[in-house]
């Protein structure tokens, strides 16, 4: 179990060594990172298999949890921890420079850490690590626009981080501990007042920058439109989900308050409306996808704001679906990056890419029996099960937004499949991009076929995630009163 820390440490080791290794031998440097990630994947898989339904706490350095940093291993954490190396491998920047590889490795390590950590400040450190790695990667393609976008993103994100730090400071001052399990014990007493909510609001907004939460998501279109498409896929698919995961962890473990979920719900609804509306008028594919991603993250927020197991189940379903679909769409969009108008007939020249795009778009809209439908259905059903007009309003907003989303996605699709566009201006899709997208599509379809076991698993994960007693018992074997 303790070896799980390797999943964080090894990519970092790889990141430190890759530039030097690449100086010695470029092929070695090229393969070093993916090799490490593959090893991490194998390692985590083994741990997940060994752990099964149980949970485990890992005290780093052997310091008993409230004092030292603890990793909390449960199915939710391992699911995302497994997703990290897998996604990073799938979206590995093969064509980049050594420093890009090493930054990508840093990103992977940070993301894994975010998924596993059970310590408030440690989460903050990994979050910052993730952020810094992504700033560098965004700007890596040397386009001035990308660098300007990265700078703007950095300013916003860093401001958010400072607010999050403020929130952590508030929590620490009030409780004197950073361990999530211990915070869970203390929260009903110490964080009961406005202070706890304020801390949550600050953390939500701070971490929400990466999670594309509503008012702090202005960076999304700029960055996704200028960043390399593999990175955009990684940011939209993986990084945003991990930020959401952190928020959800905090929500579940520490800040279990109706006001907190309400705040998330409101931000989510606004995000949906804003994102989908903006995407309706997008003029190029990558920004359309970026805005759509904002809207989808809004749905994720709304889903996670549902109380209890339903919320985690719905949120997981939506988040995992988006995790799978959006990167693939970004990969496909990479070669269709011009104005939408210029894409006329593009899919006819690249039928496989067109078909994949159609499949992902259908799933994104939520056409049964594709997984997107089930995710949306669970969310809607959960929303309607809640009393109060706000939840019903959220459901209506989701339905309307889905309509808008379908409208623009299919406007794009009809352009892609429509006639016209004589000159083959666009380069064909690379085999790598297409292969990756096909693999994602395969996963999506597998999700349809094995829907039943999949939902069973998700149910199990959700049940475990909301089980606070187990959480506390795992991380604090002898909790102090």
């Amino acid at each position: 179990m303790n070896a799980v820390v390797l999943a964080v440490a090894l990519p970092l080791l790889g990141a430190f060594l890759t530039p030097s290794l690449a100086r010695l031998s470029l092929p070695l440097g090229r393969l070093f990172g993916p090799g490490l990630l593959a090893f991490c994947l194998w390692l985590l898989w083994g741990i997940a298999r060994a752990l099964g339904d149980a949970t485990a706490g890992v005290a780093l350095g052997g310091f008993a949890p409230p004092l030292g940093i603890a990793f909390h291993l449960d199915r939710l954490a391992l699911l995302f921890a497994l997703a990290v190396p897998a996604m990073v491998l799938a979206l590995w920047p093969w064509g980049g420079r050594p420093r890009e590889w090493s930054l990508t490795l840093v990103l992977a390590a940070a993301a894994t850490g975010l998924a596993l950590s059970g310590d408030l400040f440690n989460l903050y450190v990994f979050y910052e690590l993730l952020a810094v790695a992504s700033y560098g990667l965004i700007a890596a393609n040397q386009r001035p626009a990308a660098q300007a976008a990265a700078l703007r993103y950095l300013l916003l994100s860093a401001a958010g981080s400072a607010l999050a730090l403020l929130g952590i400071a508030l929590v620490y001052t009030q409780t004197g501990t950073l361990n999530l399990a211990q915070l869970a014990l203390l929260a009903p007493v110490s964080l009961d007042g406005p202070l706890g909510l304020a801390a949550f609001a600050l953390l939500l907004l701070g971490i929400g920058v990466k999670a594309e939460a509503f008012p702090v998501n202005t960076w999304v279109p700029e960055v996704y439109a200028t960043a390399p498409s593999r990175l955009a896929g990684l940011l939209a698919g993986l990084v945003s989900k991990l930020a959401v995961l952190v928020i959800v962890r905090l929500l579940l473990v520490v800040f279990q308050r109706p006001e907190a979920t309400q705040l998330m719900l409101v931000l989510g609804v606004l995000g949906i409306a804003w994102g989908e509306l903006a995407a309706w008028r997008a003029r190029d594919l990558s920004r359309q996808l970026a805005w759509s991603s904002v809207g989808q993250l809004g749905i994720v927020f709304v889903a996670f704001s549902l109380p209890g197991e339903t919320g985690v189940l719905a949120g997981l379903a939506v988040a995992l679906h988006h995790l799978l679909v959006k990167p693939a769409l970004f990969l496909l969009a990479r070669h269709w990056n011009g104005a939408l108008e210029g894409l006329r007939g593009a899919a006819r020249r690249a039928p496989l890419a067109g078909a994949l795009f159609a499949l992902f778009a259908l799933s994104l809209v939520g056409v049964p029996p594709l997984p997107g439908f089930w995710a949306k259905f669970v969310t809607l059903s959960g929303l309607f099960a809640q009393p109060g007009p706000l939840c019903s309003l959220a459901a209506v907003v989701i339905l309307t937004a889905t309509l808008v989303e379908a409208a623009y996605l299919f406007r794009t699709l009809t352009l892609l499949f429509g006639p016209g566009g004589e000159e083959p201006r666009m380069a064909p899709h690379g085999a790598l991009d297409l292969g990756t997208a096909t693999a994602f599509a395969g996963l999506l379809l597998a999700g349809v076929i094995w829907l039943q076991p999949l939902t069973g698993d998700l149910h199990g994960i959700a049940r475990q995630a909301v089980d606070m007693d187990t959480y506390v018992d795992t991380d604090l074997p002898t909790p102090r009163p």
Partner: protein, 229 residues
């Protein structure tokens, strides 16, 4: 108008935060964790500086993350600035006072830096502080003689290996003790230089790493030509 709004908002924010902060237990922190660490740390780590115990042992992973952030920032800056590093028209030399001053300061800073690093577990200070001093030491001559660039290959190796060393120590602990970054080696006598097990080694790695990162960063920045207006 917008400025006014902003100021009002900011004032409101400050006020609200103050209202919240008024409820905080100032001067009587709960110290749930702190108390435990204060009691345990000397026995567990053998470091006189308990902050160092916290930084390198109890929260060693944070420190690793922190190092990685520095590394990522340096790598990012390198990526961003890469390819534009060689300026066409280097700045003139800094003149006698600057050059002489820098030459004078260099060994001094080097020694101070190393001292701060190596006594991190005993006195205030440590790898980060010392690393910054080291970086300053290497950067000062650059101010004086802009033509002489730092050796990027060497910096790259140092930063890579120092970071790797930190992790390697952690891994060593993992394999030997079953816990990543667990304290290793003998604890020695509290307050002596050779005490606190692996902590000084870790701090040395941190110091080298920080120094290398910062000098690399500074060198990169300095070597980038600002566009003429």
């Amino acid at each position: 108008m917008r400025n006014l709004t902003t100021l009002l908002f900011a004032a409101g924010l400050g006020f609200l935060l103050l209202v919240l902060a008024a409820g905080l237990p100032y001067g009587h922190p709960p110290m749930l964790v702190g108390q435990g660490i204060l009691q345990q740390a000397p026995a567990t780590t053998g470091a006189a500086n308990i902050v160092t115990s916290v930084v390198l042992a109890y929260r060693g992973l944070d420190t690793l993350g922190e190092l990685s952030i520095l590394f990522a920032a340096a790598a990012g800056a390198g990526l961003v600035l890469g390819g534009h590093r060689r300026r066409r028209r280097p700045d003139p030399d800094g003149g006698f006072i600057l050059i002489a001053g820098a030459d004078l300061m260099f060994p001094l800073l080097l020694v101070v830096g190393l001292y701060v690093i190596l006594h991190g577990h005993l006195t205030p200070g440590g790898g980060f502080q010392g690393g910054v001093i080291l970086a300053a030491a290497f950067f000062l001559p650059l101010l004086g003689r802009p033509r002489e660039a730092l050796d990027h290959t060497a910096i790259s190796w140092i930063e890579g290996l120092a970071g790797a060393a930190f992790i390697a120590i952690g891994l060593w602990a993992l394999f030997a003790r079953g816990d990543f970054l667990a304290p290793m080696l003998g604890k020695g006598v509290l307050g002596q230089l050779f005490s606190a097990g692996t902590l000084p080694l870790l701090y040395a790695a941190v110091g080298l790493k920080v120094g290398a990162e910062l000098s690399g960063l500074l060198a990169d920045l300095a070597a980038t030509e600002a566009r003429d207006p």
